[in-house]
């Protein structure tokens, strides 16, 4: 690594690199095996069916093996990873801020979470290590019958609705990392919004990972009953470590008839994390699903939010932002399956590559026979900030329906010297000018973010851009 790159890393760390003393209640042995899986289930006092599900998933993972396509994962060594850690004595969640360990609160303070709460943030769920330790939810939501819990508690308190939907969107057979997650999942959010209930203020969860080599396998299950309307937001700012770290979440969303669900995430994993996430929504009649997926940080990210448009009139929208800097590979995009008539979708991907960073757009539009008048539009734009930066696109399109309309546009541009000079001639420094151009490039997607997340995104971009030009 060059000196400049080291310096940049330090600037980044000033804001986000903190590694507070690790206090555990329980930590598994390193590596992934049957013993570890059984122990996790035992510690969580789970029902028999969940233990069986985990063990079956482990078998599937062992049979399947890792994917043979996509980014290089050869340095990801499971034998060096703890697949389960639990930080507090209670092992459950609390609604009381004072019950949270001081060092955890310190971490949250540095991330500005209490301030965020002072604003009108209605419910904050935060994950420390592999467990929810803090959770609050506005009273009126409870009155409306809205459930917003960590997933472990969701399983305990709502066993029937949980079992009915769990792993129906992403079964362990789906892919290797979904199988690994199914075997060792812990934490995540469980959201249930009853029929006809509309929630104005977004449901927000903050995820945080803070133990060396600890895996983070959150499992989020979101159920929108018919006619419901809500927005779930997950933010993530991870501290830095020395050894490789691994995050593999599974996010399942069910959008029932006429529901409108949005899921927003801005992730900023530290630069040694493998971030391999499966996230998918099943979209039913006249329902709509919107993903906004922002990926900064991590060493390797593989993430393709998906919409399966199962019934007539279903709509899906995927907005993706990827920012790859030195040594990073962001392999991101989106997938849409049109399985019914009059379904529509759009994918907008904006990627930025800097230094030796590489951004790949990987997308699929699959239109089944009989999906009459299905419409899909894909736009992917890449911006390269240096001559050493790379970008590539893998846009797969399969159309088996004659009446379908599919549009695809792609562009690659370089940071433009004339734009830099123009902005400089108005008094902006070179780095500030470049950051402004990048923000403008992302604006079509970023404008869909709630204000505090847009501000956070801008701050992260500025940090990534410091010392990047000249």
């Amino acid at each position: 690594m060059s000196d400049a790159a080291n310096l940049q890393g330090m600037q980044h760390e000033k804001q986000y690199d903190f590694n507070l003393p690790e206090t555990y209640f329980y930590r598994s042995e390193k590596g992934l095996n049957k013993r570890v899986v059984e122990k996790i289930s035992y510690m969580k006092e789970e029902p028999e069916w969940m233990l069986k599900f985990r063990l079956r998933a482990l078998e599937i993972a062992e049979k399947k093996g890792r994917p043979k396509w996509g980014p290089d994962l050869s340095k990801l060594n499971f034998d060096e990873i703890y697949f389960y850690t639990r930080p507090n004595e209670q092992g459950g969640t609390t609604n009381d801020w004072d019950e949270i360990p001081e060092e955890v609160r310190e971490t949250y303070r540095r991330l500005g979470i209490p301030e965020a709460e002072q604003r009108i943030l209605a419910g904050v769920g935060a994950q420390y290590e592999s467990e929810m330790v803090y959770h609050s939810l506005k009273e009126e939501w409870e009155k409306l019958g809205v459930v917003f819990l960590d997933t472990d508690t969701g399983l305990k308190e709502y066993p029937e609705v949980f079992k009915e939907h769990f792993a129906t969107v992403i079964p362990p057979e789906d892919n290797y990392f979904a199988a690994v997650n199914s075997a060792v999942w812990s934490g995540g959010s469980f959201v249930y919004v009853p029929a006809g209930v509309e929630i104005e203020v977004p449901l927000q969860a903050y995820f945080l990972l803070n133990a060396q080599s600890s895996g983070q396998f959150e499992r989020t299950l979101i159920i929108g009953e018919p006619g419901s309307k809500f927005h779930y937001i997950e933010g993530c700012t991870a501290p830095a470590y020395n050894t490789e770290s691994f995050h593999s979440g599974v996010i399942e969303i069910i959008c029932k008839e006429e529901s409108q669900v949005r899921y927003t995430t801005i992730q900023n994993w530290s630069h040694n994390v493998y971030n391999l996430v499966t996230q998918r929504a099943m979209v039913h009649k006249n329902a709509s699903m919107g993903w906004l997926d922002g990926n900064l940080g991590s060493k390797v990210t593989m993430k393709y939010p998906s919409c399966y448009l199962l019934e007539e009139g279903a709509r899906g929208e995927i907005l993706s932002i990827a920012f790859a800097t030195d040594g990073q590979h962001q392999d991101a995009g989106g997938k849409v399956v049109h399985a019914a008539p009059n379904t529509s979708s759009s994918i907008v991907s904006k990627s930025i590559s800097k230094g030796t960073g590489r951004s790949s757009y990987r997308g699929l539009v699959d239109i089944h026979e009989g999906a009459r008048n299905a419409r899909s539009n894909v736009e992917c734009d890449a911006l390269l900030l240096d001559d050493t930066a790379k970008t590539d696109t893998y846009p797969y399109i399969q159309i088996n329906e004659k009446t379908a309309h599919v549009g695809h546009e792609a562009s690659v541009s370089k940071l433009n010297d004339e734009q830099i000079f123009y902005l400089q001639s108005r008094g902006l420094g070179e780095a500030e000018a470049a950051a402004l151009i990048v923000r403008g490039f992302l604006e079509p997607v970023a404008k869909e973010l709630p204000l505090e997340y847009a501000v956070e995104l801008n701050r992260l971009i500025e940090l990534e851009m410091e010392g990047s030009v000249g």
């Binding site: 433009n416 010297d417 004339e418 734009q419 000079f421 123009y422 902005l423 400089q424 001639s425 108005r426 008094g427 902006l428 420094g429 070179e430 500030e432 000018a433 402004l436 151009i437 923000r439 403008g440 490039f441 992302l442 604006e443 079509p444």
Partner: protein, 252 residues
Amino acid sequence: MSVEQLEIRNLHVSVAGEPILRGVDLVLPKGEVHALMGPNGSGKSTLSKVIAGDPVYEVTDGDILLNGDSILEMEPDERARAGLYLAFQYPVEVPGVSIANFLRLAINARRGEDDEIGVMDFYNKITDAVKTLNWDDSIIERHLHEGFSGGEKKRSEILQLLVLEPKFAMLDETDSGLDVDALKVVSQGVNAARGENFGALVITHYQRLLNYIVPDKVHVMHKGKIVKTGDKELAMELDQKGYDWIKETVAA
């Protein structure tokens, strides 16, 4: 205390090894407006970009002094913060960046870190400038020059000038491509900026603009040099006799 002025001293400039300016001398005192005229390719636009610090150009000899100090080693943004401004002939588009957001950053770049401009101060400043240019307030939310007509781009350059309040501005063919109405509006903007703390170098090909922005002096450039300097009557004379007259005068 040195005199407040922009001084070009024996300036030689090349681009890709090709000489364009061959010894330009020009003094623009504070509070004055000078016109810079000349045939196509004489080096007028180059001069304005070199003053602003465009890295495409190489200064091979001579100097540019702002209030007595050389600015050649300064970055374009440092020059801007020192009070220089270039109204571009062809301003670029910067997609996704609103005029308001951009100008707020530009103003704050001139102020201390703990001295950012207040929301109301900024709003008043920008809406005043918008009014001076007979524009609609909604313009400030539009993205920088995205989908702007040629005339709107020119108007944007003058809007920025009014908001940023430079000490010395170069206007590079701000009149080109404008109809008479647009020309009047743009001139109205420049005249509003005029005062004892504002100097400008108005680069134009035609005398027409100078009916609206009356210059204190007129310089004529040819083949990379100032070949004639006079008062505003010189512009009229040029208009009547054409640039061939200058070329013949210089050759003689």
